[in-house]
């Protein structure tokens, strides 16, 4: 905090000037929320590429039946690391990047509350990412246990497992510090007149997400620490041979895991709730119900975890409880969908790239929500658990839900962040390529799952060949399309057209109405007055 204030106690009209270090040291020592937001976003994109290459290894192996490219053990390492890297390295940091960039500007604050802790939250990430990647080079390689890290396999893995456990610890610390920062910033640093209920919905969804993170990350840390002590210190939490219970691990993991999926999707809901009104040129329909729905989704997310565990054996009363609770979550979620649709109703819509991705989100997230409801039915799930149907479900919610939203947000705010516009035509091409290839990869996986193809296998019977081929071709198309995205962003940053201060006619939050494009390095040192 002081580092920010000391340098800029006075107004001297060259805001983009950085004091202190330059070059790489600027990034290492920065306490500026915009710098840190940028770091988060680039880190996320890098991890997205790394995790993406792993996905392509998986899809290349699955292109035809039989074992061609990798051995089964390495295949398992790929599925595990793909999942961990995408969830913890790509999606979560992307939205923390958005939070850093946007929350201070949207509430009229000069920076995040704890600027130095903010630096630390970010700089933990590259080390955690490195631990995950280094684990491949350990004896026995990376753990091949699946991203859910179920016992008892985790108790048997080589030293790569320990690297992964420590990576999870570090990632969790980073998330918790980031969350404390967000909560404090939102609750204490709003400009005069910016009441909670006037905040852009993005700030609301992040406030609630931050509480979810604070409540659920320690649970994950506990689960992996118990795994660690089982491995090295003679405890038997999960080791049946010593009187432990592997199912206990699943309960603890999913008590974290289900809130985690909402940690991923709620900030995305926030981004969508900024973009759809902007391109409909209408205020968000039912702002208050959106806040309420977000809060209730957050609370309910803690009482549905065992819908991931219908097949491990539980009393029928347990199955029914979790089935009812899970299906009821669809109610507030549907309220949100309804509000977005109602926002567009009779609006004067235009379809720039951010809006296209937002609509892609609406359409595909609905499919993912419905397949979730199908899986929530215990009787059905017992057939579908651990098949490709589940893989299809969670990619509809995480890729078409969260990742498409991150794309939408980047196209939406890039002009504000960099002062330059991306190429609209190329943006649209990127959208359509992503849309087509995404469905090519994952829609057919519903068929595979219904036909009984298990997930996490390197080989499969002949009857699954056709859909797998289509899925694999789609995967390579999707991967290549993301290089186009990189090109579009780099091109915009280096030589895009100058963006207007209020690039989008219908955007109405403070960063658009009160700040120039690009947003100055230090903004709102004197808080704006919000009426």
């Amino acid at each position: 905090m002081s580092a920010v204030l000391d340098d800029h106690g006075h107004d001297h009209g060259h805001d983009d000037h950085h004091h202190g270090y330059s070059g790489i040291m600027r990034w290492i020592t920065t306490t500026n929320h915009k710098d840190i937001g940028t770091l988060y976003l680039w880190f996320s994109f890098t991890m997205f590429m790394v995790g993406g290459v792993m996905a392509l290894v998986i899809r290349a192996e699955l292109f035809t039946p039989g074992l061609q490219i990798v051995n089964p053990d390495f295949f398992n390492q790929m599925t595990t690391m793909h999942g961990l890297i995408m969830v913890f390295g790509a999606i979560m940091p992307a939205f923390v990047g958005f939070a850093n960039w946007l929350i201070p500007m949207q509430i009229g604050a000069p920076d995040m509350a704890f600027a130095r802790m903010n630096n630390w939250s970010f700089w933990l990430l590259p080390f955690a990412g490195a631990l995950l990647i280094i684990s491949f080079f350990m004896p026995g390689g990376a753990p091949g246990v699946g991203w859910t890290m179920y016992a008892p396999l985790t108790v048997q893995m080589g030293i790569g497992m320990d690297f992964t456990i420590f990576a999870i610890h570090i990632l969790g610390m980073s998330s918790i510090m980031g969350s404390i920062n967000i909560v404090t910033t939102v609750l204490n640093m709003r400009a005069p007149g910016m009441t909670l209920m006037k905040m852009p919905l993005f700030c609301w969804t992040w406030l609630i997400t931050a509480y979810l993170l604070i409540a659920s990350m320690p649970v994950l840390a506990g689960a992996v620490t118990m795994t660690l002590t089982d491995r090295h210190f003679g405890t038997s939490f999960f080791n049946a041979a010593g009187g432990g219970d592997p199912v206990l691990y699943q309960h603890i993991f999913w008590f974290f895991g289900h809130p985690e999926v909402y940690i991923i999707i709620l900030p995305a809901f926030g981004v969508i709730s900024q973009i759809i009104p902007a391109f409909s040129r209408k205020p968000l329909f039912g702002y208050a119900s959106m806040v309420y729905a977000t809060a209730s989704i957050a609370i309910l997310s803690f009482i549905v975890w065992a819908h991931h565990m219908y097949t491990v054996g539980m009393p029928v009363t347990g199955q029914l409880f979790f089935m009812y609770a899970t299906t009821l979550i669809a109610v507030p979620t549907a309220a949100k969908m309804f509000n977005w649709l109602a926002t567009m109703w009779r609006g004067s819509l235009t379809f720039e790239t951010p809006m296209l991705f937002a609509l892609g989100f609406l359409f595909l997230f609905a499919i993912g929500g419905f397949s979730g409801l199908v899986l929530a039915l215990a009787a059905v799930d017992i057939q579908l658990q651990d098949t490709y149907y589940v893989v299809a479900h969670f990619h509809y919610v995480m890729v078409a839900g969260a990742l498409f939203t991150a794309f939408a947000g980047i196209y939406f705010w890039l002009p504000k962040w960099t002062g330059r516009m991306y190429n609209e035509t190329l943006g649209k091409v990127h959208f359509w390529l992503s849309m087509i290839f995404f469905n090519m990869i994952f829609f057919v996986q519903h068929f595979l799952g219904l036909a009984g193809m298990p997930r996490r296998i390197p080989d499969y019977p002949l009857q699954f060949e056709t859909w797998n081929k289509i899925s694999s071709i789609g995967a390579f198309g999707f991967g290549l399309s993301q290089l186009l995205f990189l090109y579009i962003v780099v091109k915009a940053i280096t030589s895009g057209e100058k963006a207007a201060d209020k690039q989008w006619e219908g955007a109405d939050s403070l960063e658009w109405t009160h700040l120039p494009s690009p947003a100055p390095y230090h903004s709102f040192e004197t808080p704006p007055v919000v009426k």
């Binding site: 039912g286 309420y292 009363t317 609770a325 507030p332 979620t333």
Partner: protein
């Protein structure tokens, strides 16, 4: 958070607001009244009570259909 504090909402009003929040919908006029009169602590306490009641109701329903 220097919000001015108008008269505190009754328990029933808070309960109602929380009920509707589980549903995810709220009429604008009602919401305006809520946001003026309900404090954050009230919402949190009522939210937790609401969640417990929700769980108990589900358990009762489960009992009912399995007995």
């Amino acid at each position: 958070m220097a919000q001015d504090v108008p008269p505190k909402a009754s328990f029933l009003a808070v309960a109602k607001a929380v009920f509707w929040s589980f549903f995810g919908v709220r009429r604008k006029a009602d919401y305006d009244r809520d946001s003026a009169s309900i404090g954050p602590v009230q919402v949190i306490v009522a939210g937790i009570i609401g969640a417990v009641l929700f769980i108990l109701t589900l358990l009762m329903v489960v009992r009912l259909v399995t007995s």
